[in-house]
Symmetry: C2
Subunit: 332 residues, 2 copies
């Protein structure tokens, strides 16, 4: 029989406290609150995005993947604002005392995320719940005073870019549910890549200084490109050619098998890429900086004209977008 | 039929965004992250204590009381560290789209707590869950750099104090479950007072500057006096006379009806009073400052000798404490 953890002290001291070693303000999780001493001339940025079993991940997912993603989705918000990840708090609610092996794997996932993103656990809480496993993360980032990149700062004429590729995660989720999806159109390597993009999103940390310097507005693509692009555009419009959407080779392979796969890139969500705008007079300097940062970015279009996000197919025809993004409470 | 909220936009813009009006860094909840610009010479303090229906409150409790308590339990942690409440993030997970009337009452409870504690909503998240209603709060407080009051800072010879009265909330919870408890020993006013102490705890904000100036260590009493006193004492011991425990008149009335009521004061928990230590050479100045702050405090004893918290009855006999505090995962 797998051993379950015995009490809160074991849960906190054995598995979580070691994650605070480099953060003196965590007091080894032996205090009721955490301390942050901001550097002079900096601002702090906070993101709060909890993940819940059955909503944001599968209960049967590996514990280290669950832990990674819980941190990554919050770090992604910080990165889109130009902030460097600094610390996070963790509120865990368990339906039953977790198994020791599960908890050890979960802690390893947190440690991997900390190492990858450069942040540390500084506080939190553990609870029992009658509901599913819930992981509440509040991530704290830091940036030079006044350099926060807002969601609503783009102007008419600004060029819109997105990092990386779109739709991989939505395809990974579909493959998670049905591993045989798209049959021989995908190799084992393709499947593994797409699943990895769903399970272990990689926020574009290399973009933070570029965004601070050149982006007039930014947000991460979490609810699908169509919905998040409408947010970035605000009162302006943008026309995006489907041919311009950045797709990974595995996503292109899936698209070749089923043309509807383009919907994953448009409204799939969970991409955790950065969508941002750059003013025309900044473009030349931006291009140099982004080349140095070595992050692939794709220009989607220019903000202009009346409000609305329009996707255009290869014949210049407007594409109808069925789903415009995820809403936890929407009835549509 | 009661109207339910239609979508996330209504939930956020109608009920939550108005709570951010005085906090420019909240961006009206229209951004993915919140911004805090710390004043030079200050440190920030973070507390993360979620509350879950069926664990920390009853689903049938009034929405404004639920909201108040979710903020208050976190503010209580800040206060015990000497920090002034500044802001909070809110992660709401609903089993179903809430009714508009419920959500309006919940927002009124948040507004009351904000006014009472001097803090503002700056960000958060709303989700669906297959579990019970869950309210994740991360509260942020501020204090002069270097003035954080740690949990583990007390020395042998320090005097230990507690604010207010103990056991009221545990009695209020018992009355919440059985309104006829203690029969004619309690008046309607007594019942109302005790229930109020359970539903609407009042963190001792007036103590923050006194704690910063004079407390060598502090924490709030949330898991019961016995458990939290052992935490404060660390490697030292303390003997506490039951006669010294501060009890409200309604708690004294309940105690007269049932001597076991003393257990509520010792291990009931949910008190949200501040337990703190003061060095002997600070006592005179502390007494003056606390009188100015107009917060009732009671001296429980002096830290000394071997580790251990011992309660002594009126005949000088050691009292056996059955329950030593709440553990979400303990099997004892």
């Amino acid at each position: 029989v797998a051993r379950r953890i015995q009490n809160e002290t074991e849960l906190i001291q054995t598995y979580l406290a070691p994650l605070t070693r480099a953060a003196p303000g965590a007091f080894g999780l032996n205090d009721d609150a955490a301390l942050i001493a901001p550097e002079p001339g900096t601002d702090l940025v906070l993101s709060t995005d909890p993940v819940v079993a059955g909503v944001h991940f599968f209960e049967t997912d590996r514990a280290d993947d669950i832990a990674w993603k819980a941190i990554a989705v919050n770090v992604s918000d910080l990165v889109a604002k130009g902030a460097e990840p600094l610390a996070y708090t963790l509120a865990l609610a368990f339906p039953a005392a977790p198994e020791a092996a599960w908890m050890a794997e979960f802690a390893r996932g947190l440690a991997s995320a900390q190492a990858a993103f450069g942040c540390h656990l500084i506080g939190g809480d553990t609870d029992r719940t009658s509901g599913p496993l819930s992981i509440g993360v509040t991530a704290i980032g830091v940036l030079p005073r006044g350099s926060f990149v807002p969601r609503h700062g783009a102007k008419a004429g600004d060029h819109v870019f997105v990092t990386g590729t779109l739709g991989d995660s939505a395809l990974g989720l579909a493959l998670h549910r049905d591993p045989s999806l798209y049959g021989s159109a995908l190799t084992d390597g393709d499947r593994s890549f797409l699943l990895g993009r769903y399970l272990r999103p990689s926020p574009r940390l290399a973009m933070t200084s570029v965004l601070r310097a050149y982006a007039s507005a930014a947000l991460d693509v979490s609810d699908g490109l169509a919905k998040d692009l409408a947010r970035l555009a605000g009162g302006r419009g943008i026309r995006v050619s489907l041919a311009a959407l950045p797709l990974s080779p595995p996503a292109r392979a899936a698209l070749a098998a089923n043309p509807r796969v383009i919907g994953a890139a448009i409204s799939g969500g969970d991409d955790y890429e950065v969508l941002f705008a750059v003013a025309p007079d900044q473009l030349a300097d931006f291009e140099k900086a982004v080349a140095l940062a070595a992050v692939a970015t794709t220009r989607l279009g220019v903000l202009n004209g009346p409000p609305g996000v329009v996707f255009i197919d290869s014949e210049g025809q407007q594409v109808e977008i069925a789903a415009t993004g995820y809403d936890h409470f929407g009835t549509a």
